[in-house]
């Protein structure tokens, strides 16, 4: 493999990786604050992609501008699901019970969303062609929409990072992520923060979906692979650590493209898991102790 091809793969990997990091940031926020693994996260992404697609096809709104519509819409959807599903579940008390039952509840939501999309929008592959003309740099070519996706995802992650590190509510979110009870003793309203963070998480998933729809085909089942990648990125990057998420996303994206080039496209989904398993193996034996703290 020559140098130019290698560089091309790395650049494509970085674009994908930025997207993974954006999706993972939402997952990491909700899992960190509520300790509830939202396995329907990919489905919110799918809904976001469809919102963008229909706005683009029916109203001619550009995908970037449609983020302005998709983001608040997904935020509201997240709040609604929080009120309908998570609040009644948390009434039970015992946290390990909530963790288990929420897994089932979210699996139910996953099935409902996926099949509702299948019934109402059919399983057709949908594509948005927007800004696909390539521009060439010194050693590689890249289409403009990929640059736009990379730019937006990196910008959003840095904005989130700023929010979590520098503002009071951001610090409260990080405190709750580290120790919920201690945070509540410091008069942080953990329930309200959970509410907002869940909305924020689905909102980020929706934005990720709108961006993913610019690069990939849009189908009702597009969400689940993104959930898995986001999960891997979340573990490697560390809970509530947005910059860690970004670096882990880049790492995963680049390794995925280079790995798929060598062992074949069919193994692409397996590559993520090889990376995850290898990482956990290293961390659990303390070779990467300083990263292990976040696990």
């Amino acid at each position: 493999m020559n140098f130019e091809l290698f560089l091309q793969l790395v650049v494509f990997g970085l674009v994908e990786g930025g997207l993974y990091a954006l999706v993972a940031s939402g997952l990491s926020l909700t899992y960190g604050v509520m300790k509830i693994l939202n396995i329907a996260h990919g489905e919110f992404l799918m809904v976001g992609a469809y919102v963008m697609f229909w706005l683009f096809t029916l109203a001619g709104v550009s995908p970037v501008a449609s983020l302005v519509v998709a983001a608040p819409l997904m935020f509201m959807l997240g709040l609604l699901i929080f009120k309908l599903v998570i609040v009644p579940l948390e009434r039970v008390g015992a946290s390990h019970l909530v963790e288990r039952s929420s897994l089932i509840a979210f699996f139910g939501i996953l099935i409902v969303f996926q099949n509702a999309a299948l019934v109402s929008w059919s399983a057709d592959y949908r594509v948005v062609s927007y800004l696909q003309n390539p521009i060439s740099f010194l050693f590689f070519n890249i289409s403009i929409n990929r640059l736009v996706v990379l730019g937006i995802s990196v910008a959003i992650i840095f904005a989130l990072d700023f929010f979590l590190r520098r503002t009071f509510s951001g610090k409260a979110i990080r405190a709750i992520t580290q120790d919920r009870e201690a945070g509540m003793l410091m008069t942080i309203n953990a329930d309200r923060l959970s509410f907002v963070c869940f909305g924020l998480g689905t909102c980020l998933a929706g934005i990720g979906g709108s961006l993913a729809g610019m690069l990939h085909v849009i189908t009702p089942t597009m969400g689940f692979p993104f959930l898995i990648k986001a999960f891997v990125v979340m573990i490697i990057g560390g809970l509530g650590n947005m910059r860690g998420c970004l670096y882990a996303g880049f790492l995963l994206g680049v390794l995925e493209f280079i790995g798929a080039y060598f062992v074949g496209e069919g193994y692409r989904s397996a590559i993520d898991y090889f990376i995850l398993v290898a990482f956990l193996l290293l961390v659990s034996h303390g070779y990467l102790g300083k990263f292990g703290r976040s696990l």
């Binding site: 899992y31 693994l37 599903v85 009644p88 579940l89 039970v92 390990h96 019970l97 909530v98 963790e99 288990r100 039952s101 897994l103 089932i104 509840a105 699996f107 139910g108 939501i109 996953l110 099935i111 409902v112 996926q114 099949n115 509702a116 019934v119 898995i228 999960f231 573990i235 074949g264 069919g266 193994y267 989904s269 397996a270 993520d272 898991y273 090889f274 995850l276 398993v277 956990l280 193996l281 659990s284 034996h285 696990l295």
Partner: protein, 309 residues
């Protein structure tokens, strides 16, 4: 289900009667009913074996389908390529699934790992095996294998019935044994259990292997029953999830919960998918969510509440 209540003679008589009915059922009913019962038994065994490890220790494995798939592939390769008789093939399926569970247990359960991470990594193993089977020429790639059909529907039915009795009986015995108590202690606080002198890692691996062997057997028999096998049927992610849902719906760590929920779910899926083919998944999802919100401790607790009021 108090200790004294279960051993009353009328309960024993009821169980024997139920088994007798189940044993004679296939002689009187159509192939459709027998096939339905086979699917029900499959879910009962899968959810019970999931429950043996995951229900008692609280580690949720989202990839129990991998043992199913490993067993199915071992059975198919032995039967189709190796030409072994089916009983040896089934034994081989059990052995392969057991070895796989042992290796994964050595890898995952000897370290301290968060429940959610354990869940996602087991799911990942399922995906890795699916990718390997779909890309390897020796394992039939994505077209898979066709298998000679079962000689008679009764053969898989009686084998599955036997395995189901072993699974439910085994859970019942585990529930009141010392090991069952130790596993429940792990689910409540692993570090305390370790300090109390329970060999946590060994116990977890033993029961993980036990809970992997039964799906291996079921996988082999179901591949035979369907008479074909491909990676997406063998390592089916949705199937792995269904098993977990059934076990949690029934009640984790209870003996009869998974059985009740298996019957409920197979009936529900059968009725909805024949009557409302387009909307059945949506209704299914809504019902699952509602049941878990109403009764987070599972249907076992729900039924207990209704009958002991």
């Amino acid at each position: 289900m108090k200790r004294s209540r279960m051993w009353k003679p009328q309960y024993l008589a009821l169980i024997i009667l139920l088994l007798a009915v189940l044993a004679f059922l296939p002689s009187f009913f159509s192939a459709y009913i027998v096939s339905f019962l086979i699917i029900t038994l499959m879910f009962i065994i899968m959810s019970c074996s999931w429950n043996i490890f995951c229900g008692f220790t609280g580690y949720i494995s989202l990839g129990h389908g991998m043992f199913f798939g490993a067993g199915a592939y071992a059975f198919t390769l032995a039967l189709v390529k190796g030409g072994l008789p089916y009983y040896y093939s089934i034994a081989l399926a059990a052995i392969v699934a057991g070895i796989l569970a042992f290796l994964i247990g050595l890898f995952l359960l000897t370290i301290r790992i968060r429940a959610a991470y354990f869940a996602m990594i087991t799911l990942g193993f399922n995906e890795i095996f699916q990718a390997i089977c779909a890309n390897s020429a020796a394992l039939g790639e994505s077209t898979g294998f066709t298998i000679p059909p079962v000689p008679h529907l009764h053969v898989p039915y009686y084998i599955l019935l036997g395995v189901a009795v072993v699974a439910v009986g085994g859970t019942y015995m585990l529930d009141r044994s010392h090991a069952g108590l130790a596993l429940k202690a792990i689910s409540q606080d692993e570090e305390v259990a370790d300090t109390m002198g329970i060999n946590v890692a060994r116990l977890k691996i033993i029961f993980f292997v036990l809970s992997g062997i039964l799906p291996g057997i079921v996988g082999g028999i179901m591949a035979w029953f369907w008479s074909y096998l491909d990676p997406y049927q063998g390592f089916n992610l949705v199937f792995s999830f269904q098993v977990v849902i059934i076990a949690i719906l029934g009640g984790m760590g209870t003996v009869f919960g998974p059985v009740i929920a298996s019957v409920f779910m197979t009936l529900l899926i059968e009725i909805l998918s024949t009557n409302l083919p387009h909307f059945y998944n949506i209704i299914f999802g809504v019902l699952v969510t509602i049941v878990i919100i109403i009764s987070p401790r599972g249907m076992n607790a729900l039924i207990g509440k209704i009958f002991h009021r």
